[in-house]
C-alpha cells in the first residue's frame, strides 16, 4: 500500500508540473520542520505537515493557504536565520500563497494583476472615481450643490447604480468562485480526497470566523513586531471583517426594502439598513486603520515583503470606502454630498473590481484550505512512525 500511495503521489506531482522556486523553498523547509516538529501546537500547518513525508505541488499550495502568517513558528525556531538552515516558514508560505492567488485567478490571464497589485489598485480607484465624478458632472454640471433635492438618486438614479454595480459584483463572485473551485479540485486529492462533512465544515467555519489560528495555540495571540503575543491583529481583523459584512448586510437589507417593500433610500437612523451601515462602517474603519498600523509595524521577517503593497492597498480601499460612506451619512445634507457620493461610489467600485485580484482572495482560499484540513484530520494517518 505504501508503495502504491507513493506512486500515486508521484503521478500527481508529475501531472501538476515541476515545483516553482517558492514551492521548492517550502519543500526544503518542510523537510527540516518535519524532523523537529516543535511548532505542532501553534496552528494547522504543522499537524498537516506531520501527515506527509513528501510535499507535492498541491500539498504545498494547501499548506501555504493554511498558514495565517502569525509569526509564532518563526520566533520559536531554532533554525531561523542566522542559522544556516534559514527556516522562515511564514515567509516561505506567504510567497507561495501570493503565487497561488495569481495561479488560481479566473480568468487565468488576469492573475498577472497580482504582480503589480499596487498599480492595479490605483488604476481601479482612478477608474472608479473618474467614472462617478464624470457622471456627476455630466448629470448635474457641478459637484458642489447645497440644493440637492431628491437625495442620492437625484445625482445617480437608482437604476444607473444597479446597472453599474450588479455586473461587477456578479463578476467578482463568479471569478472568485471559479478560482477557488480549481484550487479545491487540485488540493482535494492531496488531502485524502474525502468529501466534506457537516462536522468538518462547522469546525472549519469556526476556525475561520474566530481566526482560531491567530491565537497562537495557547489562546494568547500572535506576533506582530516582536516575540510578544498580541491579540491586536485578531481583533482588528474581526472589526474589519465583521464591519465589512455589516455594511454588506446593510446594502442587502436596503435592496430588499427597495424591491420588496418599495421603500426607497435614504433611511433614517433608527432603521435597520442605517444601523447596520453605521455600525459596520465605524467597525470597518477602525479595523482597517488598525490593520494598516500593524502592517507598517510588522516584523520585517514576517511574510513576503513584496506583498505589502497588495495588503496596504486593500486595507486603504476598505478604509476609504468606510470613511467616505460615514462622511456621506454625516454630510449628506450639505453641499458636499454630490462630491462625497461620487467618491464613495467610485471607491466601492474599485473595491469590487479588484476583489478577485487582490488581498480579498486570501479569505476565500484560506477558508478552502481550512475546510480541507478539517476533512483530512478526520482521516487515519497513513504514516506509522515508530519511536521518536
Amino acid at each position: 500500500m505504501q508503495t502504491l500511495d507513493a506512486l500515486a503521489q508521484q503521478a500527481r506531482a508529475l501531472a501538476q508540473g515541476a515545483l516553482t522556486v517558492a514551492e521548492t523553498e517550502v519543500d526544503r523547509q518542510m523537510h527540516i520542520c518535519n524532523g523537529c516538529r516543535y511548532c505542532e501546537g501553534f496552528c494547522a500547518v504543522f499537524p498537516a505537515m506531520t501527515r506527509r513525508l513528501e510535499f507535492g505541488k498541491a500539498d504545498i499550495h494547501y499548506m501555504a493557504n493554511l498558514c495565517h502568517n502569525c509569526g509564532a513558528c518563526l520566533h520559536a525556531c531554532q533554525y531561523a536565520p542566522p542559522h544556516e538552515f534559514a527556516i522562515n516558514v511564514p515567509k516561505a508560505m506567504a510567497q507561495v500563497r501570493g503565487q497561488t492567488y495569481a495561479d488560481y485567478a479566473w480568468p487565468r490571464g488576469l492573475g498577472q494583476l497580482y504582480q503589480r497589485n499596487g498599480l492595479t489598485m490605483a488604476l481601479a480607484l482612478a477608474a472608479g472615481l473618474g467614472l462617478f465624478l464624470a457622471l456627476a458632472m455630466h448629470r448635474q454640471g457641478t459637484l458642489w450643490d447645497v440644493h440637492v433635492a431628491g437625495g442620492f438618486y437625484a445625482v445617480f438614479p437608482h437604476q444607473l447604480m444597479v446597472g453599474l454595480f450588479a455586473p461587477i459584483f456578479i463578476f467578482a463572485v463568479l471569478a472568485l468562485g471559479l478560482g477557488v473551485r480549481r484550487f479545491w479540485r487540485d488540493v482535494t486529492p492531496a488531502t485524502s480526497g474525502a468529501a466534506l462533512g457537516a462536522t468538518a465544515s462547522a469546525e472549519a467555519a469556526h476556525a475561520a470566523l474566530r481566526l482560531k489560528y491567530l491565537d497562537g495555540g495557547h489562546g494568547e495571540g500572535c506576533h506582530n513586531e516582536d516575540d510578544a503575543w498580541t491579540h491586536a491583529r485578531r481583533r482588528f481583523h474581526h472589526l474589519t471583517f465583521y464591519g465589512f459584512m455589516l455594511c454588506f448586510a446593510a446594502t442587502s437589507v436596503a435592496t430588499v426594502y427597495h424591491y420588496v417593500f418599495g421603500w426607497p433610500a435614504p433611511y433614517a437612523l433608527p432603521s435597520v439598513p442605517k444601523l447596520l451601515g453605521v455600525v459596520g462602517g465605524v467597525s470597518l474603519l477602525c479595523g482597517a486603520v488598525g490593520l494598516a498600523w500593524l502592517n507598517i509595524r510588522r516584523h520585517p521577517d514576517h511574510g513576503d515583503p513584496a506583498q505589502k503593497p497588495m495588503d496596504l492597498g486593500f486595507i486603504a480601499l476598505l478604509a476609504v470606502t468606510s470613511l467616505s460612506g460615514l462622511l456621506l451619512w454625516l454630510l449628506g445634507g450639505t453641499a458636499a454630498m454630490p462630491l462625497l457620493l461620487a467618491i464613495h461610489l467610485g471607491t466601492v467600485m474599485a473595491l469590487f473590481l479588484t476583489l478577485p485580484y487582490g488581498k480579498f482572495a486570501h479569505g476565500i482560499f484560506r477558508t478552502a484550505a481550512l475546510l480541507r484540513f478539517a476533512v483530512e484530520k478526520r482521516q487515519p494517518n497513513r504514516l506509522g512512525l515508530g519511536g521518536e
Binding site: 505504501q2 508503495t3 507513493a6 523537510h31 527540516i32 520542520c33 518535519n34 524532523g35 523537529c36 516538529r37 516543535y38 511548532c39 505542532e40 501546537g41 501553534f42 499537524p47 506531520t50 513525508l53 509564532a72 513558528c73 520566533h75 520559536a76 525556531c77 531554532q78 533554525y79 536565520p81 542566522p82 542559522h83 544556516e84 538552515f85 495555540g217 495557547h218 494568547e220 516575540d227 510578544a228 497513513r382 504514516l383 506509522g384 512512525l385 515508530g386 519511536g387 521518536e388
Partner: protein, 478 residues
Amino acid sequence: MVVDVLVIGGGNAALCSALMAREAGATVRVLESAPRAWRGGNSAHTRNLRCMHDAPQDVLVDAYSEEEFWQDLLKVTGGLTNEHLARLVIRHSATCRPWMVKHGVRFQPSLSGALHTARTNAFFMGGGKALVNAYYRSAESLGVQVDYNAEVDQIELDAGRFVAASVMHKLPDGSVRRERIEAGACVLAAGGFESNRAWLREAWGQNERGEYPADQFLIRGTRYNQGVLLKHLLAQGADRIGDATQAHMVAIDARAPLYDGGICTRIDCVSLGVVVNRDARRFDDEGEDFWPKRYAIWGRLVAQQPGQVAYSIIDAKAVGRFMPPVFEGTQANSLPELARKLGLDEHVFMQSMNDYNQACRVGTFDHTALDDCHTEGLSPAKTHWARPIDTAPFYAYAVRPGVTFTYLGLKTDDTAAVHFNKVPSPNLFVAGEMMAGNVLGKGYTAGVGMTIGTAFGRIAGEQAARAALKQGVAHANA
C-alpha cells in the same frame, strides 16, 4: 554600577536564576556571551521538561511518581548520581511548572512521533527557543538588565567569596570593551565545554589508528559553550564533578552543520536496517532496543569506528516507519550500486549484507514492539526487527557522533553553592550544565537536562538573592 546578583550565562538555568533573584527583591544583571540572535545556549534546542506528577496534569497523562523518576535516573546513570540532589530535582519538577507559566512558558501535548513521552515529559509549546524568549521577555519587564555579546573570562575570588567578574563586551565594530562588575552574589550558568574543539581533542586524545576522534565530532548545540569559566573556576580550585572525557553523544546525520544542528539531524532508521562502518562491516546489534534508548550508545559506537563514520542502510520496506530525515538519503536500485555510491568496498559490503540477510529469522514484524524478528548465527546479532534488506530502492544515511553536552562540572550541594576544598562559597552559585554532572554522572533520559537546569537555576537564584541581600543589610548596619 553594582548589582546584587550577577548571572553569567543566558540559557534556561541562567534565566531561572535571574527571575528568582529578581522576584526575591535583588537587582540582577545577566551576561550572555552570545549575540541576541543566538541567545539561550543549548536551551534553545530543547523541547521538554521531565516532570514528576502524581495525577494527570494539563499536558501530562497518568502519573509519574518520584520513585519511578528516581529509578529511571538511577538506571540511565548506572548509579553515577547523588540521590539527595536527584530527589531534590525530581520533587522540584512537580511544582515548578506554574512558575514557568507565570513567566510566559506554555506547554503543548507530546509531539506526534514522541507519544511515549506523554506521561513523563511536558513539552514546551514551540520548543526551547520559545521558552527562552518568554524568560527574557519576563526578565526585561521585571527590570533585569541583559547584556549580549558579553563574555566573562575571569572571576575575582577572595577565599571562596565572589568579588567581581571581568567581562569582555564584544562591540559591533569588532573591538572589545572590558568591564569589571562587582556584585553581592553570582550565579554561574554558562554551560559545558562541548563547543570547544581544542578541549574536546585534548580530552579524547589519539586512538590506536592515530586519529583524533574528536576532530570528527559534530556539536548538536550552541557554538558558545566554550567552557571558559568552567576551566577558569577549576584552575582556581573549585571542586569538580565528572571527567572531561565524558560527553553525551548520539549518532546524527554526517551532513549536519558543525554547530546547532539540534534535533532534526537525528537518524531514526538504525533499528529498521543495518549499520556498517567505513570498512563495510557491521559492528553492533542495531535492534537491541527502541531507538530512543539506543541513540546515545550509537554515538559512542560510531566514535570508535575508523574515521568516526558509519552508514545506516535500509530498504523500501522501512520508508514511512521512522521520523523523516532532514537530508535525502543516498538512493540506489541495488545493494552493489549503493556500495559504489557510498564509496564502500563492494565485495565486503555485499558479504556483510548477504550474511545478514541469510541470518534473518522473520517472525511477525512490528516496529512498535520488541518483535520476534532476529538473526541466527550472526555476529554481531540483530535481536529485533531483523528483516532481510532486499527491496529496492535502497537508502543509506552516513552518521557521525554528535555531541549534545559534556558532563564535567563544578561540585555543588542542595544550596547550589560552588565548593572550594569541600567548603561551600557563601555567594557563588552554579546551575545548569555547569553542575548537571552532580545529578547526571553519565547517560541521559529525555528532558532531564531542563529539569536539572530549572531546579538548580531557581535554587541558585534564590540563594544568590538571599546572600546578596543579607550582605547588603550587613553593609548598611556597619
